[in-house]
Symmetry: C2
Subunit: 397 residues, 2 copies
């Protein structure tokens, strides 16, 4: 039915949060150990023939050259080829996508995709001051992330009657989910009132409409689908890989109530998987701001255009709803360390599809798997013009 050339045989991640006590190198090492431990039947590291590492902030904020050898050298795999991907918010998911192409190309039988990010290593002041001294071309003019997403919120409110209450409900749902997930950065519930009372960042976003700055690491081991049995009894197959782009600058965009990059990525992934949005049991989507998840519902086809606000309000996206969205807590509660966000989303989906959540974690978190498909989504990068959508399945057909 789908593509199914590549199987996920192991996933692993660090608890997201503040890791001031760990070096970047240590986080790579711990993430690597986590994914090795996540391979059910075990794996000899020598089986891993190639790697892809996703990481942004070292170069972006620290002006530090980070190349692929960072991964292989630290974990004792020095020698294997390692590509470094840096592609804005979808860095982690694009890292996975390129690793999948590497295996599907026939060049490598087994590969690792690993992402790691220390977003908290510099205080916001230090980071911004350093950038200011170098004359940052965008941030110096106010083009911060909240200011880039806010026009989507105000226009969606204007055209479709989406309310600030509905936006707040995204945070309420995702923070609740985060309390169930042991890997989530934040572990407390919030109310709509809490969101309204929290400091205003950029109208209409209060700070609880925004995801935090989080350190994290996540990794996935993949192999040729026909070799999956060596490593696990529960392989998860890659059914669809989509990526879309859009124009970067506001003046070039046709609409402020959608992300066409997401729509393009979703279209490719659904087509490749041979399924539609109605086949998705569980999704991990990009909720960097509350409005983003509402647009995602529409862009990914979970509801009609303009109905995203209603979709959160009527409970369609909660665990147990029509499609469980962000059962991990999402970017908003679990966190968003760019280089590994997509890989951590896929880790959650693999756990959900395998039914692994119940034995090892909080059983309230386990989504009922009916159709057997899960969807991962990121949108971001310069001008919110890059999106990746990945569809994975526990179905071999």
């Amino acid at each position: 039915m789908g593509w199914n050339k590549v199987a996920i045989v192991g996933v692993g991640m660090l608890k997201f949060g503040e890791h001031f006590d760990k070096s970047y190198e240590a986080m790579i090492g711990e993430t690597y150990l986590a994914v090795l431990g996540g391979v059910q039947k075990g794996i000899d590291p020598k089986d891993i023939e190639a790697g892809w590492i996703g990481t942004c902030i070292g170069s972006l904020m620290g002006s530090e050259l980070i190349s692929g050898s960072m991964l292989s050298g630290i974990v004792g795999l020095a020698g294997i080829p390692v590509t470094r991907i840096e592609n804005g918010c979808p860095t982690g998911s694009d890292t996975f996508r390129n690793a999948c192409m590497g295996v599907a190309s026939g060049l490598y039988d087994v590969a690792i995709a690993l992402g790691v990010e220390k977003m908290r290593e510099k205080t916001s002041d230090e980071g911004l001051l350093a950038i200011g001294s170098a004359g940052h071309p965008v941030l110096m003019r106010g083009g911060t992330a909240p200011a880039q997403f806010a026009p989507q919120a105000t226009r969606h409110m204007h055209e479709y009657g989406t309310t600030k209450e509905q936006m707040a409900m995204i945070g309420v749902k995702n923070h609740y989910n985060g309390t169930l997930c042991p890997y989530s950065h934040y572990q407390y519930e919030i109310t709509v009132e809490d969101v309204f009372k929290s400091p205003m960042v950029c109208w209409p976003f209060n700070i609880l409409d925004c995801c935090p700055q989080t350190d994290g690491g996540a990794a996935i081991i993949i192999c040729r689908a026909d070799l999956a049995d060596r490593y696990t009894d529960k392989p998860i197959y890659v059914a669809g890989l989509g990526m879309g782009t859009d124009y970067q600058f506001a003046a070039e965009k046709e609409s402020f109530t959608e992300f066409v990059a997401s729509q393009r990525a979703a279209k490719q992934a659904y087509k490749m998987a041979g399924i539609g949005p109605e086949d998705i049991d569980v999704a991990e989507v990009h909720d960097c701001f509350s409005i983003t998840e509402i647009l995602d519902y529409e862009d990914l086809g979970f509801c009609e255009k303009g109905q995203g606000g209603k979709f959160i309000e009527d409970g369609s996206s909660r665990i147990g709803g029509k499609v469980a969205v962000n059962p991990s807590g999402g970017l908003m509660a679990k966190g968003h360390p760019l280089g590994c966000t997509g890989l951590a989303q896929l880790t959650e989906l693999v756990w959900q599809l395998r039914g692994d959540v119940i034995p090892t974690q909080n059983e309230k978190r386990q989504v009922e798997i009916k159709k057997g498909y899960a969807l991962q989504h990121n949108v971001g990068g310069k001008g919110v013009a890059n999106s990746v959508v990945t569809i994975v399945t526990n179905r071999k057909d």
Copy 2:
């Protein structure tokens, strides 16, 4: 014989040099037009289904987020997936490698790999000052590129009797080749005496032992090998793709007279192509410093270990020698804009293999093609621990 799943159907590059008059965006656009113009039978841009962009300096020096949509948005391909690769000195060649895997995976029939870099946009002072203010963890401690490569030179001199004269001959050869190549940054000949008289950078490197800082852009269009006839009568096939890594830190390295990352990359590429070093007619290799090209001769198997100095001295690597190395002028004369260096090296090799140099450029530049194989090589990244080797051929078998 080789892999031959992917064909190069178009190459194009900008003249390397100082492009203060052109924006980064303009250079992407001009490089794109150059590669479209480089497709013999023409190509409808709508045929291009996916892209990979290689670029480093924007994030590294400018703290600017650059994502894949930078490429697609500017050239009117907004919509197609674009991955951004940043992987130190082999960024351009790894961009090509990932594009090849994308096509070989069956996901895309036609793809573009484009690299662009504005190395000269900031003066050295501005760049270093900006980095200094952010507290660069490596450069602040003197770990600049010349200081990383110098121990290889002194140890090679000590163990194998390699001389400073032999190193200087690398620059003499490559600057001469550069005078023949219309795309080369530098267009003047130098002598061994010129090298010795030029300012000392870091013993044993005078400044003419070092490659310059250069702006540039280069791009390649590839497709499934069986579709190549649509676009050209002279397809060049990708025969081997190798990439190797090593430990990053000096204290971890086993030897200072070789780059094991290069050896590993070469081994993979030769194996995949089913050939050996003796089958290479022409090579574009990494000569960031004079000693690097001498080590390359040995690491790539063009001569025995320790004989690299003799290999340059006896003329084996000149145009007309045993294997023509860096007929374009190499990094030392043509230039080294990280994101596109590998793509520009491959562009030169495609011209050489097709015999295109004679009709359009200086006929003295044309290497005699006997076996039909050409080799591209980069080594670098953090700790000189990443290497890519690509083998291309005009042979269909």
